[in-house]
Symmetry: C2
Subunit: 389 residues, 2 copies
């Protein structure tokens, strides 16, 4: 269903000749047909942010975007002024077609860092894609397909509120880490919301979703999450419900990224409870989720709690107060570490499910946080030793 699930949006996905893979769909367009053109965006914190990020951050600053063009196959990152001009030219072309200024167009790119776009292919691709836009479910799926790189499957979401809808698509598989993940995401809604409502809902939703997944600890140059609102339903949503649905859409899409992490054979949930604050819980969860050794152990179906506590022990006392002698670790429901010491035998843990849960209780307070990550497999190394990205 993707971005066209919400009323007032049309989309398309075409093969424009950006990707090195012959015939791969690599360019998508999402058009907001209104009546509103409300938009909010969240972008990578990377200081080497890509040209399209620089462009789109400015474009969305006023809370309005008419359409988005996204390409896979080239990140247009670290490409200097020439790269920025390419993003501007791309926006200008779609703007001409849609009858709006370039500044009403957002641009997203993903792929290899350090290469300029094949601009002629992109510009003719924009024309082709704009000529094919449709509000059908199929068109939404084509757009979701065109933005993929090392992803092995499309990632979309479709949710219904009271009289309005939320749709979305995302790409992301490697170079995924807080803050944000290496991904491009477009969420659409036909709810009638203001730019401020959209911004607040998106910021809150991203914080507990895209900012809490970590495939490989590597922050991207191109991360972009956009929320577009058409108002086509005519419904002014209840704020709490709307915020929750946007957060649910972010959670679903980010969870799908973990489910398709490069080379992953397990999706790992690290949940830390009993912390003195959410920040403390989050710092602990992030430290555990970042452990290469733990991620390898999970790949080998080993419920290695020693690698959990050794990671936990790297978080400074002033960041997360706790007593190591009070910490418990459950792996898939079995308390293998109890009070900082060995608990139940590891052999009791069933590691065969795709999803592996590490539940860590610091025994110090009431706050909690959850981070998702993937295991570290031979396939991850293969993909990233052999794929130039």
């Amino acid at each position: 269903m993707s971005v066209t699930f919400a009323q007032g949006f049309s989309a398309s996905g075409v093969a424009a000749g950006v990707s090195a893979v012959e015939g791969k769909k690599d360019l998508a367009v999402v058009v907001n047909n209104g009546p509103l053109d409300v938009a909010a965006g969240v972008f990578t914190a990377n200081r080497f942010c890509a040209a399209p990020v620089q462009w789109s951050r400015k474009a969305v600053a006023d809370g309005h975007i008419k359409a988005v063009v996204l390409n896979s196959g080239c990140a247009n990152a670290c490409t200097g002024k020439e790269g920025f001009q390419q993003s501007a030219d791309t926006a200008a072309r779609l703007g001409e077609l849609a009858g709006v200024p370039a500044e009403s167009i957002a641009v997203c790119s993903t792929g290899m860092i350090g290469d300029l776009l094949p601009l002629d292919n992109v510009l003719s691709g924009v024309e082709k894609a704009y000529g094919e836009v449709s509000d059908s479910a199929e068109a939404g799926e084509l757009a979701a397909e065109a933005i993929l790189t090392t992803d092995t499957k499309k990632k979309t979401v479709a949710l219904e509120g009271a009289g309005y809808r939320i749709g979305g698509m995302v790409k992301g598989s490697g170079m995924i880490a807080p803050q944000l993940a290496t991904m491009l995401c477009v969420i659409t809604t036909d709810a009638k919301v203001t730019a401020e409502q959209a911004r607040a809902a998106l910021s809150a939703g991203v914080e507990t979703s895209f900012n809490r997944i970590d495939v490989d600890g590597c922050m991207s140059t191109n991360d972009t999450v956009l929320l577009l609102a058409s108002g086509a339903s005519g419904v002014e949503p209840d704020a709490a419900e709307f915020n929750k649905l946007v957060a649910d859409a972010c959670a679903s899409l980010s969870r799908q990224i973990i489910g398709d992490g490069e080379g992953a054979s397990h999706d790992i949930r690290v949940k830390v409870t009993g912390a003195t604050s959410e920040d403390a819980a989050l710092a602990c969860a992030r430290a555990v989720a970042a452990s290469n050794l733990l991620k390898c152990a999970v790949a080998g179906n080993d419920p290695n709690w020693g690698r959990v506590v050794s990671s936990l022990g790297t978080v400074p006392q002033d960041v997360a107060p706790y007593d190591p002698n009070n910490v418990t670790v459950d792996v898939n429901g079995v308390r293998v570490c109890d009070g900082g010491r060995p608990g139940r035998p590891r052999a009791e843990v069933d590691m065969t499910p795709r999803e592996v849960h590490f539940d860590i209780d610091l025994g110090e307070g009431d706050a909690e946080a959850t981070v998702w990550t993937d295991d570290l497999t031979h396939e991850y190394v293969h993909i990233n030793a052999d794929y130039e990205s």
Copy 2:
């Protein structure tokens, strides 16, 4: 040559039945025969530090240690009061044999986290090892062998000052990250130094060596570096020379750890220059050295500078001020990124040498720092998915 290169030291290495590998040498003893028994120690910052670390930190606090017992095969970490008592018992047994209090004995363990030691084996191993100590070069080599785990080779050092000597051994291959690395290290000297001199030399030496290597970003529970001084040469060394030699010994041993990193096919040097401060340079070097994506790229002989700058871009502006548009990256001497944009073609880079150099110039100041790491290979995943440690 190892720890017996310096006069006044004897050592041994025996198979005590701690390791799961039948017949593997797994217990070493190093005895300081004096006349001095000066010692200094640096230990892991991990809050889940192991029982032997808790024991040895106290033992060395007064600046004096008579002997050290080290075992591989079991870390005695996260083992509670019972584990601490095992370290105390081990120290007591060697103390009895050497005719000194238990508090004059340091204990080091490495291996699996969360298991208690097979104490009977350890205690009989201590007796056997103490019975075999010798000041021969061979005895030093046996000790260096007995402390290895996933290491594939012994790591030793032997340096000569003006009338005195420094010897040393280290183990470490995985779970290697700042601060410190997962390793046990004993450095010996026959120089006549005070506890304060030893402490100062060791702290400074560790800071630019063991604290600047990173195999896999994972901090250990058992890291220990000990410096023992016998004074047997009768020579009071020049302070500057002594400090430099201790630092050289630390540098040599830590470099050997990188050369034997788990599964590594390349040793990677990340040198950051042009920073506003050493801390800024170090933060940048650590961020680059920690990138799984970059480490995979190197494993695939890909001089992927995009993964260098995307890691560099995660360091906050207030930590390391620089302008992305002024940054250059040389890989093995070829400037592939110039002013934040593509420079020379990657194809010009020869990635076949074992050692790969990333030289990053921030173009902002005069400070620099260097961090060493390894590439991330299939073999690393294999070792850590299949080996319980």
